[in-house]
Symmetry: C2
Subunit: 181 residues, 2 copies
DNA sequence: TGATATCGTCTGTCGAGCAGACGATCGCCG
DNA sequence: CGGCGATCGTCTGCTCGACAGACGATATCA
């Protein structure tokens, strides 16, 4: 769908815990506001939970994919997570340094490097996973348990519906439709 | 809670729509993944919807507060949205240039400038609001309408529970607390 | 009145992301 | 077999945004 390079400038809001204004707008400033608020808090917490991992949350996402998927190449990782290749290079560098992953020549394509997780990397991920899950549960502590479950479910469905739509051929095509038919 | 300056590095993932790997991990990579995915798509779309506003989505948030609240000072705006004061300065600058807002001396405190929206600013906001709402609705198009409503509701409740918990004194204090000692 | 804190502004520095070029390798096609 | 374009990972240089710090103006308190 090629949103072009346009969208940028969304950098993380810094949030140095500075606010504390008494002029809280109160309720319902729209979906945007809720999402932004939730996101800010979420990223703060997850960032804290992943602080001993290189590149914080982003590195966490990378490690996650590396561990759960078949050893991906740097390019596929980059594409999947929306990270630049050049960035992926030194991101992986740091993970190699820490002994969390290894670069291996793909015997089938000697240009590519397969990124595989070390035992240490897996252990670390498991550990951080717990902290992250914890932080997330904490994040939703304002909701009664049943609603949390519902929320997670809806969120997941919404997200998966997106990642599928990502490809214009997507949902339909995957069955048996010739592209642009 | 003072997360210190630590949490950074969360910059927006670029998302040049490059992926299209067939190795979609399938279901349930956790809340993180869903949130990240949803967020990425959301910010791409909202960014597009707010592209003719200075500073994109962030500027949009600012304008929103300016229009809906009593004229805030730059400092309160900055604190509220987690933006640095020095950044807020030139952000407002641009909005003044565009004629969307005005700076007015606060008669009660001549250091502070009250940011007030112009008629033009209000109009523009209304226009962008529609586009954003549109984009958001589009974002959830993968969910049946009833679920969208439920999702919005849950999201909003989760968010508001957070912004209140934000300040430990928060809800209670808002009644009658002297400003910062 | 003087001391201290806050508001908004300006300047300098730092770091991250991105474009572009490069060597190595693949795959294709003649 | 040998050339040709494309791709992978890397490196380099540039650009842009965030943040620290200093500054004048003003408020507040002693």
């Amino acid at each position: 769908m090629s949103m072009s390079t346009r969208a940028s400038t969304v950098r993380k809001p810094t949030a140095p815990a500075a606010a504390h204004e008494h002029a809280v707008p109160g309720p319902s400033l729209g979906l945007s506001w809720s999402l932004v608020a939730l996101l800010r808090e979420w990223s703060t917490r997850v960032e804290a939970a992943t602080e001993d991992l290189p590149d914080g949350m982003r590195g966490y996402q990378v490690l996650r994919v590396v561990v759960h998927d078949a050893p991906p190449t740097q390019a596929s990782l980059a594409a999947r997570l929306g990270i630049d290749r050049t960035v992926m290079t030194y991101l992986i560098d740091r993970y190699v340094e820490c002994g969390f992953v290894e670069r291996r020549q793909d015997p089938a394509d000697r240009r590519a490097r397969r990124i595989v997780a070390t035992a240490r990397g897996r252990t670390k991920l498991a550990e951080v996973d717990v902290r992250v899950a914890d932080a997330e549960e904490d994040l939703l502590s304002g909701l009664p348990p049943e609603d949390r479950v519902r929320f997670r479910d809806l969120l997941e469905r919404a997200a998966s519906s997106i990642t599928e739509d990502d490809d214009p051929c997507g949902v339909v095509a995957r069955a048996a439709t010739p592209p642009a038919g």
